[in-house]
């Protein structure tokens, strides 16, 4: 109760708009999808992250210049038996991060199939990022950086090598996605699916309410 007294109006800051995006993480099991998200959302890392069942949902807001970008993150399970779920999540998504483990070649090829599937099935305007996770285990590296970079360039993907453990590049990759996402477009695939809504409040209303608050 007491804290509410000092509570700010929601979204009452000065930035002009709030964008809400649906982001989905895909990749082979045990490549570190959940760890990546956990690092991004809560800044935590667990050595023994339990395996995800089905899919987990998290949100995180990042500020980008004058825009607040609100990510609705669907962290899907990597296990084979949950693959049938994936379309449900990437169908209305505006962004996807395909994760692989740089110490495991199979996960990289699996990541490539995911990219293909996304290009084929997901919305054409989807922003795809490729993340080579576990960069802290560089001594066990199997997938070379260049190889992945080349692949990413060929397919027009964002690419970074990340490490959930050391937090390397974790925020960066999300920010990069946020930057790349269109923020003005009203009619995306999102609004039709009803999943990723974008709330763009009109300036006039904003101003009026803002004034009365002050």
């Amino acid at each position: 109760m007491a804290t509410r007294g000092t509570a700010q109006r929601p979204n009452g800051s000065t930035q002009g708009k709030i964008c809400q995006f649906k982001l989905v993480l895909l990749g082979e099991s045990a490549v570190g999808k959940s760890s990546l998200v956990l690092r991004f959302v809560k800044g935590q890392f667990h050595e023994y992250q339990e395996s995800t069942i089905g899919a987990a949902f998290l949100t995180q807001t990042v500020c980008l210049d004058d825009t607040t970008v609100k990510f609705e993150i669907w962290d899907t399970a990597g296990q084979e038996r949950y693959h049938s779920l994936a379309p449900m999540y990437y169908r209305g998504a505006q962004a996807a991060i395909v994760v692989y483990d740089i110490t495991n070649q199979d996960t990289f090829s699996r990541a490539q199939t995911w990219v293909k599937e996304l290009q084929r099935q997901a919305s054409p305007s989807i922003v795809i990022a490729l993340a080579g996770n576990k960069a802290d285990l560089a001594n066990k590296r199997v997938v070379e950086y260049d190889e992945a970079q080349t692949y990413a360039d060929e397919n027009g993907l964002l690419f970074m090598e990340t490490s959930a453990k050391t937090a390397m590049n974790v925020n960066d990759i999300f920010l990069a996605i946020a930057k790349k996402l269109p923020k003005n477009e009203q009619s995306g695939s999102a609004s039709t699916s009803g999943q990723g809504r974008r709330l763009v409040e009109s300036d006039g209303q904003k101003a009026a309410t803002g004034n009365c608050c002050k």
């Binding site: 899919a55 962290d75 779920l85």
Partner: protein, 1317 residues
Amino acid sequence: MAENEFVPNSDECLVTEAINLDIEELDNTEYAIPIVEESPTLESILMEPDYESLSETEDDIVVPLGEKLGSSETTSIGSHLSLNSLNKSSKTAHKPYSGVILRHVILKGITSQIVSANERVNAGLASAVAAGGNMLVIGTSHGLILGFDSSQTLRWCDQETRHQGSISALCFNYDGSRVLAGFVRGHILMLDSSNGKVLRILTDVHPLDTAVLHVKEFCPIYHCYCILNLSVQSIDSFEPVTVIIVCIRPRMRVVLSHPLTGAAIAPPQLSWQLVVIQTADGSRVIDPVLALARDNVVYFYQVYTEIGTRVKLSPLRRMTLPYMISNLRWLNPRSLVVLDTQEKLHLLDVRAQDNLETLDMSRVGISYASSHFKGLSTGGNVSKAMALAGERACYNTVIVFGTQLLLLGTKSLHVICMRTWTERLQHLIVQKRFPEALALGLSFYQDKGKAVIGLRGSKQRRRQIARDKVCEVLVQYMDELNQCLVDENTGYDTIVLTCVDYCIQLENLDLLFGKLWDIVFESEGLKTSYLHALEAPLLDGSLQPRLPPLIAQQLVTLYDQEDKVDSLEAIVVLLNVDCLDIHQVTTICRQRGLWEALIYLQTTALGDFTAPIHQLVPTLQNLLQDPLTTLSRDCIKLGNAILVYTSCCLAGRGFPKDELPEGMPQKAKADILRALLAQHSSLANDMERQYPYLRTLLQFDAKGFLDVIAIAFQEPEFTSEMGLRHRQRLIDILLGIVMSNTPLTPKNIDYITLEQQFMVLIFVANEVCESTVTLEYNTLNKMIDILCIDVHMELSKDFKTKRENAVLGLLHSKKLCNISDNTLLNLANRAKFIRVVELLYSAREDWVAVCECMILEPLRHHDVWPWLENLPTVSLNQVISVHTSTLVTINANQFATIVATRLQNKIDTILQSLTNNLSLEYKLLGALYQIAQYKEEDVSLELTTEHLERYLALMCELEPAHVVAHLHGSHGCRLDEALKIVQKWNCKDAEAVMLEKLGNYQEAFDLLLKQFENRLEIYRQDEASESETVHAAIQLAGICRRSAGNLDWMPLVEVMFRSHSENNKQKDILNGKLLRLILESLSGTSILSNILEQILRNPSATSGTMGDIRQLLSGVLTQSRYEQTLVETTARLVSLELHKALETSLRDAGRACGNVSITCPVCRQPLSHCSDHVVVFGCGHGYHLTCLGEPKSCYKCLNTKGWAPIATNVAHTRKKQLLPPEFLHHKDLVLRLAPSCSIPDLEGTLSAKTQYGSIGSLSSNSPVRSFVTIVKTSSFGHLDLSIGDMSNDNGIPDSVRLPTCILEHFSQTCIIHAPIL
């Protein structure tokens, strides 16, 4: 009048909406009346706070204004214009004038002009008002007419006619160019409304010295006007007011005559309105509706024209109000405004008959026209009734102008109008009454709103507009909530609840999940309330089961924290999978044991039908191994969930509800079957037995699981050829589980109890019976062996029957042919399966054994009788000799029948065998006695005397109460033996009966008397009931009577009298009763004088008074008279019967008989060859007397014995026709009523013009201009209806005399409506 009502060129077919539309547009643009011009929305108030318009908002009406008015009051004669002095505004505390729907405004400009006119030029108080065009005129009590324009400025003032007294009526013509003004002294002026110039003075139309109560211009085409005055005679009684509606064109006739009753003081009311009426067939018509009211009842009449031009009125409805009506006006087609005598203004919704709002109008100080009615200015020569009726008349001061109600107070002019719907919402919002505003808005949205103004367009459009507006309100409300956060207001959760509720009802999910969520997300408390508020709409389906993932996630977290697992499960099962955080939900479900939700997730989200079995059945197994003997709640919940899930899947349905999508059912069925039939679980250890899942489910609830399988077997997957193979496999596996080769100890976790084993076997047996599966010989053998096990354990009887049925089923379906009879018989005997044994015996045709089986089985032994009857005597004897006592117990009567028909010679033996069981013997004897007594055709049984005496003896022993009745019947015993028996068993009553039978009356009497005395003694000690004593007395009296004088019954009477010696009131009553009873019954047999003597000698018996003796005597006499009558009647009947018989005999004897043959059929000789007589029977056969034997009968027709009478042909006599009574025969019969009452002398009435007064309301304010409405109370005499041409400025108006017929009507009625075309 207002253009909106008299739209001359508008279409014939006006729709309500169109009318409303017009009003709306005029309100904003053309209406020059300032009040309408101004739309006091919130914006306008906020924008221009200093704006002092001529019209005031409700908040401006404050006490000082009233005081100002009050202070300026002068003592003119107008001061008694208003009767309202009683409740004039003197209250200091006041609440806002206006209501939510009605807006109350004082027209300040006009009000101040009235006040100043009163002060400066002594204009008096306002007495009448009229509005039309863009002008508004007000008449005052001193004869001034003030003309105002739309901006409330005084344009002209007419003072010329001050001497004519108060202005009593005002009226505009239809285009507002002219004004008619009526004065209280009968003067009528026509003015130009624009400048107040007098155009005409109408002198001829109205008798002077009579108040003009109404002037109306009612026909725009002919410019006719109508002035009403009513001549009034002094009358004492005020009879019911009647409304008469007269059609003037094409010819004058009365359309309706409707009496209005009510208190004398209640003025009659009339009001017209075009209303959309929904007819029975759903179509809509627009017709004028007339509202008639008086006292507290409103009648609605619809005016319509039938084919042709005939105008008709049909009643619509009747409405009773809880107050007395003082004025009644339509405000719009749906709303009626009623001013009651307490000066409360009520807004009524006509369709729903609801009172929407009530406003107190006492501050207005309404100007009443009572002085006009009372004729104060003309000398007051009016009747009391008239004066009373005018008490609350405000016809000219409460008028409707467009959609506004003008209320003229003595010093002010008030306007009431209905707010438009947006104004109403705004009104509430300004007062921060958001919930009310939302409820109102929702009612608009749902098209349930009442008195809605300004919302128009198609239904769809209206909804849209309303929705947008309500959403706006909702947003404002949410902002309010936002304030709450800062203000620490504690009532926030109700606000959240309301917001959520309305978002859902308005189907505005964007608002719900967007703005509202953003607001509540900030605060934990609000969020909690919000999430709780979502539960109910989700569960009842008013909210789509699709939430934004974040909200769903929060919801799940919250409910998990709050331990509301049941609700959580219900919600999870409901929600779409794609909005759930599956990881979170699954984890919680596992922890909390929400198995249904878990299964739902696994199947719906993952399409994995095997997972639930693979994961949950082992869990169940673990729970089952719990050392506790009783199953825990969790375990049962899980087990049931699995069973239901299995059943759903096997049936191809979704779990826990809905259907599976296309193509899924087959997959589900196949998957679940595969999972169930898995040989080993996924995490099997080496110890695990085969088919762990089936085993576990059987262990959990064998019956339930088998039911599931049985239901599944109905599916095509198990009935096709392939399906049958599946079925066979499943059965084999089940058998394998329950009949394992290595028996398990109960300690083993895989142990299957005997009960479960039986259930499976019974299930299998049923399947085998239906030939859907086949079993190997060995398996079958083993199965039967187990089924027929003789269980010593305490298993329910039910179970045994089921097993038995299973075996029987197998036998019937001939599946056990391979097993020898003897083996089966042994097994069945071991298990005591009597029906099986019986079946086997009947197959062998060993009927004796079959019967024995049946006798042994308590459920079916009643069916044994037909079997016994069909047995050969020897076998029967054999059966009976063994089972006599059982059979008698089962049904003694049936047994007796069989014995009587088949084994009469064995009766002795049978009875012998029963000697050790007396009751059975008695039962059998009783049954036999019954058979012997009521002989049927095929059974003839004679019981020996010994048997009968034995029966009597047993009866004495076992059922002494029945003995007397038995002895009265044919008991068949030797009398002396019977007497001995009853004496032996000490049955006194029976003994008396026997003694009487033996003729020993005296002894019987003594016996009974002794008994009676004893009984009386017992009774005296309060140990016997009264009825018993009475019964004994009756018995005694009976024997005395039967003995018919052989007995001296005096001792009885003496006993009776002796008992009187003690004084006990209550007992004496009984004694008196007994005495009377006895004396009455004896009066037939004894000499009356004896009785009388006895009575007189013992006055104490009758407590000595003559009255009691009289009662006694009369009883005795009645009895004796009755008996005498009885004897006489009987004698008469007997002689009558004798007479009849004699008559018949005589008639037959005297009848001639035709002979059919001339020869005697016996000797073949002609009848003429006769030595003695010829006898001819009724059948026509003749015989020689000598040839006939004794008794005499016709040999040819043996059935006709004796002298058969010949049927006589009864001549057809013509039936008498029933004729109507004499007086009806005349054809020219006419219905005569009571003598007609004398019609009052019309001439006299009409000529009595000496005294005048007037009352009335002329309402041509109606949309139908062709009606003149005249209100007149009864017996007021004649009426002049003057119809003038207004265009003719100096012409004498055409006075139309109503036809005599109508006038005749007038003499008793009072309101006229006259249409002019």
